[in-house]
């Protein structure tokens, strides 16, 4: 199932949006100027918003025959791209603003900037809609279960990003600067997807041609997973010994 999810591009799409939302939440959750209660309320609100979005799209997909509305959906997608571009431009402008403002003005939280980063834009919603439709046709699971699995994956990506940002919070000198950098990067990625999307079919053909003879395809999965697992376990052993050791070792 994971392989199918990856091959169909569902995981890749959710990964990008998961990281985007995780960065927004991470900068808010680790901001020293925000109270704990506000942080958790913001986190719960965001997760709930996306849960409702998933549920809404689930009922939309299961309750309607989307093929009957394909023309309208295409129109929505067309306008969605414009909105997507506006969102990318907004992210870029706000990100640059955060980067060039003086450190003195970094004391207050940039809630508007964070909201811009975690707001489900029309393209995000469309991606979820298309992914859910694709997943229903791919997996033998019940539709409700499929939606739950996909939401769990999506939430997983958000939480992993949040965890990584929390772990490196001490390393990040200014959350606002970090947020600014992330916003600029996300906006550049969005602009890139807008530019690349129209030539996607050509890219697909080129990719298939390049992929037919690449050495990566000859890598066997099981030994690689075994090696990665071994490296991870041994690495964890080393990390545990070093991080939690109270010994007098340089």
């Amino acid at each position: 199932m994971i392989k199918q999810l990856w091959m169909s591009g569902i995981l890749a799409a959710f990964l990008v949006f998961g990281i985007k939302i995780g960065v927004g939440l991470g900068s808010q959750m680790n901001h020293p100027a925000i109270s704990k209660r506000k942080k958790w309320a913001f986190f719960a609100g965001s997760v709930l918003t996306y849960l409702l979005l998933f549920l809404g799209i689930h009922f939309l997909v299961t309750g309607l025959n989307l093929l009957d509305y394909l023309d309208r959906l295409a129109n929505v997608l067309k306008y969605g791209m414009i909105l997507h571009f506006i969102l990318a431009a907004g992210l870029l402008a706000w990100g640059i603003r955060l980067l060039i403002q003086t450190p003195a003005s970094h004391q207050h939280a940039q809630l508007k900037a964070v909201l811009l980063l975690i707001t489900p834009c029309p393209v995000c919603a469309t991606v979820i809609l298309l992914n859910l439709t694709l997943a229903f046709s791919l997996f033998p699971l019940a539709p409700a279960m499929t939606t739950a699995v996909l939401f769990a994956c999506f939430l997983g990506f958000i939480l992993i990003t949040l965890l990584v940002i929390t772990l490196f919070a001490n390393w990040i000198q200014s959350m606002d600067t970090f947020l600014g950098i992330c916003m600029v990067l996300v906006s550049l990625y969005f602009v890139l997807t807008i530019l690349v999307a129209p030539i996607y079919p050509e890219i697909k053909a080129a990719f298939a041609m390049a992929g037919s003879n690449n050495p990566i395809g000859h890598i066997q999965g099981k030994p690689l997973v075994l090696l990665a697992g071994t490296a991870f376990v041994f690495g964890c052993v080393g990390f545990y010994r070093s991080y939690f050791s109270k010994a007098d070792q340089p």
């Binding site: 041994f234 690495g235 991080y243």
Partner: protein
């Protein structure tokens, strides 16, 4: 059978006998490097978390007055430096005419211990690629011997082994070199801190501060 043939056979036997230990060592070194990598990141996270809000040099007067490390400094320094400082404090409390020599001995022991920690990984920088090269050349010999007999499958399997051992050896070398560079930076930083702490605590003792009260 000429004498040279005997030499050649002997060398070939030694060389092929070394293949298994070389491959086994490469695998063991890889596993060790995984553990070391985890340990390295553990230490890195620890060092990132433990940061003094000001440079250590700004705490020197405080250290000199107290004759020991203040608690806030202790919390922001690696455990081994704190242990060193407490050992130094014990030496300074003793009434011995060879105090200076004991301090010098403690300082040099610490320096050696720090160097030893870096040398362990520095060793892999050389050993890894060397084993990789050995693992390349040994199967080449057996592969060429197979080619002479028209055994193409032996040649191909030997070549696969030859290339893979090279890659693993170089991977070990590159990773170890990266860790060595960072570890050396940490070691120099720790050594600088140790010397600063030593200077401050010894001066406190000379002035008859808390550490030298028992004198």
């Amino acid at each position: 059978m000429t004498i040279f043939n005997i030499f050649q056979t002997t060398l070939y036997t030694i060389s092929t006998a070394l293949l298994v230990p070389v491959v086994a060592l490469l695998i063991l070194l890889c596993l060790w490097l995984f553990i070391y990598t985890g340990g390295f990141f553990g230490e890195w996270v620890k060092r990132k978390k433990m940061k003094l809000d000001r440079p250590l040099s700004e705490f020197l007067e405080n250290i000199q007055k107290m004759g020991r490390l203040p608690d806030n400094v202790c919390a922001a320094l690696p455990v081994h430096i704190v242990t060193y400082a407490s050992n130094l404090e014990n030496i300074l409390k003793r009434s011995s005419c060879l105090k200076e020599e004991q301090i010098e001995d403690l300082n040099q022991k610490k320096e050696n211990a720090l160097l030893k920690g870096v040398d362990r990984i520095r060793l892999i920088v050389r050993i890894g690629p060397s084993l990789g090269l050995m693992g390349t050349l040994i199967p080449m010999g057996t592969g060429l011997a197979g080619l002479a007999q028209g055994n193409m499958s032996q040649l191909s399997s030997s070549l696969i082994l030859a290339f893979t051992t090279t890659v693993v050896g170089i991977f070990l070398g590159i990773s170890a070199h990266f860790f060595t560079v960072i570890k050396e930076q940490w070691m120099l930083e720790d050594m600088r801190r140790i010397n600063l702490i030593t200077e401050a605590m010894v001066k406190a003792s000379d002035k008859g501060g808390p550490a030298g009260e028992t004198l």
